[in-house]
């Protein structure tokens, strides 16, 4: 699976405001480091479909995983199933970032930003594929919702990785502090509903943290 990190997104993660172009020296750095991240990345994804049960305002059962989250419950309203999803760029991107730790901090910052943009692109592509598969089976797919969004606790990371067996299958592990390793990794839940719900908000724009410095400004 190959993927590219969009240049504008890398700039956004580096703190550039919309419409501001990096100077040529910086642009060279950004493009070179982004290419290195794309080269180092070995994107891998896994997913599975689980039955969904809801109880009350915030009680959910994603297959065997019990979750209390009003935000996720709202996101999944009307769904009969969920897709559990995980993706990672692999360990070589972590090594690239670690390598820059020895004083190459400008590269490090760009690797970090490019990795973030790339994992998003990988998830978007994988989710599009899942959407098409779901639609072929008569299901509409909701936008992905990850542990850490709203009140969906990141303590559910181990539940998700264990169920998907991500350590063996894609090399994705969770630390005792609930960090995903490799660092550029995502886990998420996507609802499957028989009814289409118009939904324009997803990803960055769906997040409640409106004062985030990296928030994507709408066009």
């Amino acid at each position: 699976m190959t993927a590219a990190a969009p240049y504008e997104e890398v700039c956004r993660y580096l703190g550039y405001k919309r419409g501001v172009q990096p100077d040529p020296e910086t642009e060279r750095l950004i493009r070179a480091c982004t290419a290195r991240v794309e080269e180092a990345a070995e994107p891998k994804v896994v997913s599975t479909v689980l039955p969904l049960a809801c109880s009350g305002e915030d009680g959910l059962k994603l297959g065997p995983i019990g979750v209390k989250s009003a935000a996720l419950a709202k996101n999944l309203r009307g769904c009969g199933q969920v897709i559990l999803f995980a993706a990672t760029l692999g360990l070589e991107v972590d090594r690239l970032i670690a390598r820059s730790g020895a004083g190459r901090v400008a590269e490090g910052a760009v690797y970090q930003a490019a990795g973030a943009a790339l994992i998003e692109a990988v998830c978007d592509a994988a989710n599009d594929a899942l959407r098409r598969e779901s639609e072929a089976e008569g299901w509409y797919l909701r936008p992905r919702f990850s542990p850490g969004y709203g009140d969906f606790s990141i303590t559910h990371q181990p539940d998700i990785t264990r169920l998907l067996r991500t350590p063996e299958r894609i090399g994705l592990t969770v630390t005792d502090s609930m960090l995903l390793l490799p660092v550029k990794s995502v886990t998420a839940v996507m609802g499957r509903a028989r009814q289409a719900v118009p939904c324009h908000r997803q990803g960055c724009e769906a997040c409640g943290k409106t004062d985030c410095p990296f928030r994507r400004e709408s066009a």
């Binding site: 070995e42 004083g103 490090g108 910052a109 089976e137 090399g171 502090s177 960090l179």
Partner: protein, 795 residues
Amino acid sequence: MNIREKLGRERLFFDGGTGTLLQAQGLKGGELPETWNLLHPERIQALHRAYLEAGADILCTNTFGANALKFPEGGQFALEAVVTAGVDLARAARAEAGRERNAWIALDLGPTGKLLKPMGELDFEDAVALYAQVVRTGAEAGADLVLIETMSDGYEAKAAVLAARENCDLPVIVTTVYGENGKLLTGGTVASTVALLEGLGVDALGVNCGMGPAQMEPIVRELTAWSSLPIVINPNAGLPRTQGGRTVFDVGPEEFAAVMERLSACSIHLMGGCCGTTPDHIRALTARCRSLPFSPPVPKARTVVSSYSRAVEIGKSPVLIGERINPTGKKRFKQALREHDIEYLLNEGFAQEEAGAHILDVNVGLPEIDEPALLTEAVCALQAVIPLPLQLDTSDPAAMERAMRRYNGKPMLNSVSGKAESMAAVFPLVKKYGGVVVGLTLDEAGIPPTADGRVAIAKKIRDTAAQYGIPAHDLVIDPLTLTVSSQPDAALVTLEALGRIGPEVGCPTILGVSNVSFGLPQRELVNTAFFTMALQKGLSCAILNPRSAGMMGAWRSYRALAGLDEQCGDYLAAYGGQTAPAPAAAEPAAPLDECVLRGLKEGAAQATKAALAEGAAPLELVDRLLIPALDQVGRGFEAGTLYLPQLLMSAEAAKAAFEVVKAAMAGQSRETRGTVVLATVKGDIHDIGKNIVKVLLENYGFQVEDLGRDVAPEVIAAAAARPGVRLVGLSALMTTTVVHMEETIALLRRQLPQVRVVVGGAVLTAEYAGRIGAHCYARDAMATVHFAQQVYPQT
């Protein structure tokens, strides 16, 4: 019968999948299959029985995920009970089937599910301990061998093998998972993995899971080319495919067996199945393959060292070993070692890697230094970020052992000599951990003056190694370069010995080349000529400075002339388009302050050199040009007119300039403004923010004690307790790790009330920082610099 007597002498069959079959019987996603050893023992035993009846010779216990991480003490299921029951059930099935004499029980060990340090959080020795616990229990319960399987990290496999070897006498088999790119998830190749595992002395190795038999063919061919051990293949029943949300495998028993039959032509010694395979697959497999002709493993006698991701073979094209990570004769390097400046070592490593070295020598020996600790630390730091294999260079066997244990691959070792004491110290380490060891042709009587004498010592080293079970191809003989200016025939004797070692001793060769010119002017002229002569005599590897244009030129030319560089491709890649030698030390591109403003690293270093050459005082350059330029960039960043990458490029340019200043001051430390202890807190491994802060603080004259990432509160408090420390900077990226930040601050406030704490990180705000007791919240690196300037006012 002991299974050791069967391995590699006749074809043996493993069983097939377990997890997929238990799921069919009702095992839920996320439920630990090993609990069924206690909850549904009859089902596990019946499964083993079915595999025996299908013709399997080796049963894998249902203990794949049984370790103390998944079965912690005090949990619902005791680990010992799970493992013992796992072995007992396999034994009971074997007894029931009447196969005690010709079926064996493999204690099955899978990955821990955690990533090892430094990329992850699990310490190598903790991983060894996790496996050791299971090995002791399983061996006691009566397992016949240990199977370490589905490993996607060679380092974790090494931990498991050491645990097995140190806690039982059973044979050890290791199978790893390769992706369709032919690599492990952590980057290893077939060649690097085979080198690692053969070095560790496993009894058989191979591949399992990940793909079906058909997709495994290229991996199997690679295994056959590199491995001298019996080869195992345990594929899935095809590539996993998702259907209706469930994972399914498409290859049926007959097709599976047919492809395995085809693969067996590549000399496969043990075969079975993994995910999706059933007793029917194994029945079809044994029916088709049991009586096929069997060819035992063939010794390959290849000299290979490896890193986590790369194998380097010695004895084909000449191999270059970078010599620069070594303090001998280098003031700046010695200073770095004394200041515990690992970053300096890493940059020496990067420079040599970029110059084309294949292996890096690592020597950190200084009289006043704790060499075992520092060598291990340097090796761990280098191997985390540099894909080249390392040559561990020390005369202290304790340092060598510690570094070998932690090394992620099969290392090169520098060195052993013909002295009895040296061989008795080094060979047991090579036998245990694996390695290719440099044998110096000297002994108790010194360095023989003749080639005959050196060849004789080489033979003694080879024969003594053989007594330890170390083959000749794991030795590389150094006939020793002596100084030609003090002894006219020095080079000739070395070259004669060099030419005789291959044919007469049967080992590859190595030389440290540059000794030959000691005491002569224009040493590179002599070195390159000698190097070329040695290459012509068949030199297998050279320890040299890969940044020497002359030596690299000699090497590239030799390869082109000796027919080792197809169509002179590498030569052209290096020199194509150049009509004349590159001009030496170009004029600086711009003045120093402009270089810093524009973020030109090379330019800043050159401008500093030029200014110093013209007689500028080092400290004046700092105060008059560097700091004002940095201030200007910092103000632009704070005003939002200049973005993070520019700030960082300028900071790096300034740092490059400071490095020149530091070297010019010949090892004297620049007077510092004060010490700041920096760390990413326990549990957190994000360190880019911390590294940015470090570079900026250093530029502004602060001494930074960088403790790294995932640092325990006590370690931070200990560093902050050193005299003169008044500021600690802590970074945390996650709400879950801010907890440890809070703990650390509480500890610092209790023990060291004089110390201030500045914190930063994505989830923090000024209010949150105040609530956890920090003295200052820094929203970015410049804010940290400003607070540090307040804590340590200019005197």
